[in-house]
């Protein structure tokens, strides 16, 4: 079931952590790690509920947080045998450094955005046409073919930035399919047919992204030992079957 809840989108795990730190009004240098970890994991759960793809970076951070949490729970070692006092390294130190470094650039990005917005309010003018510009000499069409016109246009568009090109391609839609969706699709196909070949999983019109996602989800399904893959000879058909 899908919820119609707007979940704030974060740029990555660091961004999410900064948000949690802000929300809890805690000191970045003294993060209450178990509280923040709990909220962090809650957020990932919400993402799951909403069918949002959770990237490996978010998962990796979850693991890091849990590791820090467990280290913090360990009783502090006392080197009783030694006279020298060894300063304990705070397990949070690396993370705090990363967060602070990231925060600086996040703030700088906001300042840059303000500048960009101001600058976008300026208007410039195109260059004037000048008689001396010999490119404006008479138009001779005798040796010009339609292909030349095409090339000229391509060159102009390449010379230009992306905004102008966008006009051409707005009708081209990107296939939006996540690895999870793709995995479900493959499982469904395999439940219907016992064996499929790799190429049967898409048709001629499938986009490159679609094919790549399909391939990645096959790898994932293999890793999870849901499917088995067989190839009889090099470059031969790849057969996919359900493992059970």
């Amino acid at each position: 079931m899908r919820y119609n809840v707007v979940l704030e989108i974060f740029e990555g795990p660091l961004d999410l952590l900064l948000h949690l730190i802000d929300k809890n009004e805690v000191d970045i240098r003294d993060i209450p790690i178990s509280k923040i970890t709990e909220q962090y994991l809650e957020y990932l759960e919400k993402m799951k509920d909403l069918d949002l793809e959770i990237t490996s970076e978010f998962l990796l951070m979850a693991a890091t947080l849990l590791e820090i949490k467990s280290k913090m729970l360990l009783p502090k070692k006392k080197d009783e045998g030694k006279q020298l006092e060894i300063e304990e390294v705070d397990p949070r130190e690396d993370l705090v450094k990363k967060l602070i470094d990231y925060k600086r650039f996040k703030e700088a990005a906001i300042k840059l955005k303000e500048r960009e917005e101001l600058q976008r309010k300026l208007f410039f003018k195109p260059r004037e046409e000048i008689d001396l510009d010999i490119r404006n000499e008479n138009l001779e069409l005798e040796n010009v073919k339609i292909e030349d016109l095409f090339k000229i246009f391509c060159n102009i568009m390449k010379r230009n930035n992306i905004e102008t090109r966008k006009i051409n391609i707005h009708e081209i839609k990107r296939d939006e399919i996540s690895i999870e969706e793709s995995m479900k699709r493959i499982e469904k196909i395999l439940n219907e047919k016992k064996t499929v070949t790799f190429s049967e999983l898409f048709d001629k019109n499938s986009s490159r992204i679609y094919i790549v996602v399909t391939f990645l989800s096959l790898l994932e399904l293999m890793r999870l030992k849901v499917i088995a893959i067989k190839q009889e000879k090099n470059f031969g058909n790849i057969y996919i079957t359900l493992k059970c």
Binding site: K125, P126, R127, N136, L141, I169
Partner: protein, 179 residues
């Protein structure tokens, strides 16, 4: 709004517009009477001359445009080193290719793509009947929309405009980088 500010806005409007801008458009944008606008612009013309500014306001009929001064022609011409290489497409062909692929399109849009003014190129193309006016946009200045003609199809041996070489190759390259 004080007069100084109105003058400033008028200068900005003439600067960005580039083409002749009518008194009607100027006065309605700023929200003053045509008469007031007329008087203020006349003031500006005198000031520009008195201060020996690098640009002047030229008037014809009820339209105004910014331009450089004839006596600076010699200096300005030094900006353009004549390009002799044959490989370069000329302005008219560039303009024609843009119109062919993006029609209907206004002059301002073509200039935004080329980065250079296109009045002469458009006149050449209109003269040769390769392009024509196909309509007008319903906004300030009612800019003309250009499209290609039957003569264009004939000249390039096309049965219809759909026969233009597809842009697919180009978009495929660029698509990768589009968010």
């Amino acid at each position: 709004m004080d007069k100084r500010e109105i003058k400033s806005i008028i200068e900005a409007l003439l600067f960005t517009w580039g083409d002749p801008l009518s008194l009607k458009d100027i006065s309605s944008i700023i929200g003053i009477s045509k008469e007031d606008a007329y008087n203020i612009i006349n003031d500006m013309i005198e000031e520009f001359n008195y201060n020996r500014r690098g640009v002047q306001i030229v008037q014809f009929n009820d339209k105004y445009q910014l331009s450089t001064r004839p006596e600076h022609h010699e200096w300005i011409s030094k900006l353009y080193t004549p390009k002799t290489s044959k490989g370069l497409s000329n302005a008219a062909l560039e303009t024609l290719s843009i119109i062919a692929y993006k029609q209907p399109i206004t002059k301002t849009e073509i200039e935004a793509i080329r980065g250079v003014k296109c009045d002469k190129a458009l006149n050449t193309l209109l003269d040769k009947k390769l392009i024509k006016e196909v309509g007008r946009l319903e906004k300030t200045g009612r800019p003309i929309l250009y499209g290609t003609t039957d003569e264009f199809l004939l000249q390039f041996g096309l049965k219809s405009i759909d026969e233009l070489p597809e842009l697919k190759d180009l978009t495929e390259i660029d698509l990768e980088n589009i968010e």
